[in-house]
Symmetry: C2
Subunit: 557 residues, 2 copies
């Protein structure tokens, strides 16, 4: 496990700062669980079952209680917030030892908060809010007042947040406990999780594989049940990829639904590809609860980028598909660029076969509209400064580029410094692409309503989260199965379906790759190495139909 | 009147093309009304009453019928669409002779459409839609399939639109007739209306003054009742300024409510300051009808920039102000940059005095939040390319810059070519400014609701449309009373209140201007020259509270 946290080449001053951050992290772990009690030398590459072997049964019971039941137990005082917090802290400490997913635990603050909540419910006879006593983990870059927020930039070590991100404030007011902060990669622009400050976070199902990223710490921690609900963020797949590769649930809403304050300093003004904060959870109920709590406030009065639309619970999303009474699912087997690896296609087939038997469901094929072009537009806009901003921050501390930063900024043909005119031109191309994609939904209509607007369109698209199983470290070069929905600003929910199985998913040696990305993806698949790794799918909705998308996931996922 | 249409210095080829466009315009007028019947040599500088003196009484009766009544008459076949169209065409032709507001009339197409509608209602016994038979005028730059769309650029003469703008399509499907296309200024970035193709459009109440702009043709045409409902667009005041200076009504909604296709080629990708298409009308009912018809379609399925929100008629906007049961109006007497001229302040006082007697209304002062800074951010973003794009289009045809283009692009300190980094920086400043302004509303709350969100805030802001009466031609340098709401993306309705009156509105010779813009505005006011010119005010709502803002205007305006 040493390699996960090897110290990078840094000047002595910076190395000292990195050491300090790691020491602080390790102390926060040691406060919960002695390092010796973590049997790192004995563990297999699949560490997903280690917590059950190592931790006391009552810790496992609490941390594996389904979320609605756990909240019910907390609200009825069947369990205390302190006991629940202690259990999750303990399991998170072990998870850190196993996969290196935590930037720090917050035992003192969390237990103080939990004790407050226990007092509160004792005094008032009712919970503080719908999340009363629930421990929640948070990706490091989300501002927490008075805590360091370094975004995994060495040069930013020691920077403190002055206010809480609005999402955290809302979750807090709903009664939660924040117990852990989690890792993210250098620059936040990898779909893996590797940084010079915290090292590499790996996949709980196979520590030789990536956990995905950039919200990889959340993905790995929740997969190991060191948390059951977390806060991630997604600009190109950063919630859905780690959720998918780690076998948990994640949602990237459309922009304008979830408050963004607390993340703004990094992305301020860069509105061409919107970043979205969102939930990651061990269960689908976690996503639902998080979205309802966070989106039921009138936060648009504070953050004018937010749509003036609370979570639309009352709409009959699944019944009202208009001219067709069936719920229509478009299945995208392949994005036209990269053929998914065999276990992914099997997962799709499995879900489609299950859905076909439902009379109220109609399955059609979804024809991807030139995703290759979409990928180019996405990358030209996301990397419109040629990586300059990121490289400057790295240079400030003389940080070496991690392999995927090297790839993103120096080897990526779409990472080019852009003039203002070019930015406007590519933004215009984005809008044209969005129009065309909207039309691709509209032409699936079965008719028009009284006003002439289309009805009976495809309701959601069912598609892979990634073209394959979790790659070995530093090999994640293809985000297109997720980033295309960021470009389009569509809501997307990632949900686990199955695990790769060497017996069921042989390599297709007859396949002829169609392009370089396709070849790379094809060759990355290794039935033996990938055996047992999670396989997930994604349900994608039309822009701002976040409620429908999540509701559909609750029926299908 | 010659000077209004003097031919600019252009190469012979381009001059020939301009001549051709003008000839086409003049022929379209002559098809409706012989030029000799327009008594141009006899008219006073206030031409607003000329139509009543010159036109047959039945033409005046039809064109001055209040809009709801006119639609009722059309729907009940009390009048025919052909008769109504003929009347408005006739009056528009006269308006063109008086103030030069039309780029072309559409008599053939309009009368064909009107005849179709008369047939339709005869056959079906019911109107085609809520706008059955109503003539509507349209600013030239809005795409109409198969018609020239030159945006007032000489270099673009002869360019034909391939499809209808979506707003026009919706109005058409609601049964309207398009009868006139109207003038706009060179570059569309003046709040006056002067171009090398069509000349200068002037104010019907005083032809020595500007009609405002950029939708100045609509303002002047509707003021003379050559149309009762029109389509304009607004990026910095372009609907509200001409509506205000011409004594009619205009609304700029928040972005994302009104479809924008048909305008996109010019602004594609330039999303920092959103342009908005909107209604201009002789009556407030016109604005309401237009907004309801246009915003009640699910156009977001086609244009993904649109919010998925039909016009919200069912919400009790005025009753539900939360903790306070009163409707709270914030009055902004002065924007902190430029003191309004005396007639404007009198108009504000007049409306406030009228409102104070209503028990259900609470009047408070609105403190402008650093509008000077807002103006800088607006202009830096609007002119982020240093006017390059516009100047290139003008250079293509060797067009001389009109005086206000010269001012906007060559004398404006905020018109500077910007790098990508600077654009992001200023976009970030815009977002920070929007946050601060939202907070300025929130601190007017009287309490919080069960979730802790503010209630009892100011509902709408009442403020001038412009700091003064219509300036003499080529003097409109201050848009800040309108453009600040574009920067903030707030809905704003302009409504007429009174007319400047030399007796009631003496010059305040004791006033000491606070800055250069203030001095310029102060010195522009001339009680004699301005006597009789319209004075308007503006009601401004929070972002996306378009329905509330318009409803408030219907009570106050």
């Amino acid at each position: 496990m040493r390699s996960l946290t090897s110290v990078p080449t840094l000047s002595p001053e910076w190395a000292t700062l990195v050491d300090g951050v790691r020491r602080k992290r390790d102390e926060s772990i040691a406060a919960v669980m002695s390092p010796e009690s973590i049997p790192l030398h004995e563990v297999p590459s699949n560490v997903s079952q280690v917590p059950r072997e190592v931790l006391p049964v009552q810790v496992c019971t609490v941390t594996e209680t389904p979320l609605p039941e756990l909240l019910q137990q907390l609200a009825s005082r069947e369990v205390t917030a302190v006991a629940v917090t202690e259990a999750f802290l303990r399991r998170a400490a072990l998870a850190q030892g196993l996969v290196n997913c935590v930037t720090e635990l917050l035992p003192t603050a969390a237990l103080k908060r939990a004790a407050f909540l226990d007092d509160y419910i004792a005094q008032h006879g009712k919970p503080l809010g719908p999340l009363h006593g629930l421990p929640i983990s948070v990706k490091e870059h989300m501002a927490m007042a008075d805590w360091e927020v370094n975004f995994s930039f060495v040069a930013q070590i020691g920077t403190k947040a002055t206010t809480d991100g609005e999402v955290l404030r809302i979750l807090w007011e709903a009664g939660c406990v924040f117990h852990a902060r989690t890792t993210q990669p250098q620059s936040l622009l990898h779909v893996e999780t590797s940084s010079n400050i915290y090292g590499v976070t790996v996949n709980p199902f196979n520590t030789n594989l990536t956990c995905g990223g950039s919200s990889g710490g959340e993905g790995a921690l929740i997969a190991l049940r060191g948390s059951c609900l977390g806060v991630g963020s997604d600009t190109g797949g950063s919630i859905r990829v780690p959720a998918g590769l780690c076998g948990i649930y994640g949602m990237k809403a459309s922009s304008g639904r979830v408050p963004m304050s607390g993340l703004l300093p990094l992305t301020m003004g860069r509105e061409q590809i919107p970043s979205v904060v969102g939930p990651m959870s061990a269960t689908l109920e976690g996503l639902e609860l998080w979205m309802k709590v966070v989106c039921s406030r009138k936060t648009w009065l504070k953050e004018p980028t937010l749509l003036p639309m609370a979570w639309r619970d009352e709409v009959d999303w699944l019944g009202k598909t208009g001219g067709s009474s069936k719920f229509k699912i478009g299945v995208m087997w392949n994005d036209g660029v990269v053929q998914p690896q065999p276990p992914v296609t099997r997962a799709l087939r499995q879900v489609v076969d299950r859905l076909r038997v439902h009379e109220e469901v109609e399955i059609v094929d979804w024809k991807p509209h030139d995703h290759s072009r979409g990928g180019e537009i996405f990358a030209r806009l996301l990397f419109a400064d040629g990586g300059k901003f990121m490289k400057q921050r790295l240079d400030q501390a003389g940080e070496p580029l991690r392999p995927l930063s090297q790839w993103a900024f120096n080897e990526n043909p779409h990472c080019r410094e852009t003039t203002l005119d070019e930015l406007w031109e590519w933004t215009g191309k984005r809008d044209t692409y969005r129009h065309k994609y909207a039309n691709a939904w509209n032409v699936t209509a079965t008719g028009v309503d009284a006003h002439g607007d289309p009805v009976g369109c495809v309701d959601v698209i069912l598609t892979p989260v990634a073209p394959g199983v979790a790659p070995p470290l530093d090999h994640s070069h293809n985000w297109l199965y997720t980033s295309i929905w960021n470009l389009l600003d569509y809501p997307a929910v990632s949900f686990p379906v199955t695990h790769a199985d060497a017996g069921l998913d042989p390599r297709n040696d007859l396949y002829t790759p169609q392009n370089k990305l396709d070849a790379e993806n094809h060759h990355l698949y290794d039935p033996q190495m990938h055996h047992g790794a999670p396989i997930a799918l994604q349900l994608v909705g039309r822009r701002w139909e976040d409620e429908k998308d999540l509701l559909a996931a609750s029926h299908i996922g």
